[in-house]
Point group: C2
Chain length 197, copies 2
């Protein structure tokens, strides 16, 4: 059973919240807004989520889940050279997931502060140490040449610049072509001035 039995209320709340949080921002979206669009009342939401933060947290964890496997694999590699070699392949997987879950990523880039203050929740702290910590120690790795560290950061930024498309400027470009072009651009960032074979 792939996506079967429960388009339940809880899931509908998350869908609506994802949309509104991205559109208007987390802080400017009241529980009343969510309840209205869902067709119920504020109080009803509190049956499914104890606090407003928990709605955002749930969505936040789903984004982290996207990068977890790749970063874990990376962290398991023995040395910087091995990690550097694995970059292109893992970035490729990253781009695929980024493209598939654009809406979740957009939620993140549009509400960085709200997410940073998500606070003391245990699940959140644990996840943050795992995922963000792995990314941080990757980019800060002193064993890696600075040029490679910077280019890796640029590559990640380039994925965002190419795929997020906040203004809708690439509405005329098919998704396949867009991701292919982004892949090519990222490849060029990671292969600095490679000498001809």
């Amino acid at each position: 059973m792939p996506t079967p039995p429960k388009p339940s209320t809880r899931e509908r709340i998350l869908d609506i919240a994802l949309e509104l949080f991205s559109e208007q921002g987390y802080d400017k979206t009241s529980l009343r807004d969510i309840a209205e669009r869902l067709g119920t009342t504020k109080a009803a939401l509190y049956y499914h989520f104890a606090r407003k933060e928990d709605i955002l947290l749930e969505l936040h964890l789903r984004v982290h889940e996207l990068g977890r496997a790749g970063l874990a694999e990376l962290a398991a590699l023995p040395d910087a050279a091995a990690r550097a070699q694995a970059f292109p392949r893992l970035l490729d997987a990253f781009i695929a997931q980024f493209a598939e879950h654009r809406d979740l990523v957009l939620l993140h880039t549009r509400n960085p502060n709200a997410i940073r203050v998500l606070g003391e929740d245990e699940r959140h702290l644990a996840e943050n140490e795992n995922v963000l910590g792995a990314l941080h120690s990757l980019l800060a790795d002193p064993e890696l040449p600075v040029a490679q560290r910077v280019r890796l950061a640029c590559a990640i930024g380039a994925v965002g610049g190419g795929l997020l498309d906040s203004g809708g400027v690439f509405a005329d470009v098919p998704d396949d072509e867009l991701t292919a072009q982004v892949r090519a651009a990222v490849a060029d960032v990671l292969a600095p001035a490679r000498s001809r074979d």
Copy 2:
């Protein structure tokens, strides 16, 4: 007289707001927070700014000012080919200003929603049409090959990825080297698979 006579209250308010808006986010920063750090009271702020939004607006316009000259120059060029040729040079200037005013750019990336809702102010609407409109019509330009449009968007994203450094992973890298590396990476994005001369 370059930057002389008035480190006035108004300017101090903007400085404090810039810091707090970036740190905690626009919505989570109350006028009380600003007033406290400034050493006065909430009401005093209303002498200098009619609404809280106006503080953010003022800072917002300063960011737009950074990109205005370059985008205007670009829009004045006759055809897509001329624009494409001008990209690298203008992106170079863009990187320089980005690096010099990192704090202002950070304000933007951390409060995208608050800024988008800035609303009906005349100055804001006019500026948005000028600056964002120019950027939009640049990236959406149907005369330009899709590959080039996407790579341009990726290049802009790469600048953000390399220079913003939200997590402080490049604290050990001198600013000069960082921007130089970013410049190199961006150049590789814009020079797709260029055949050897």
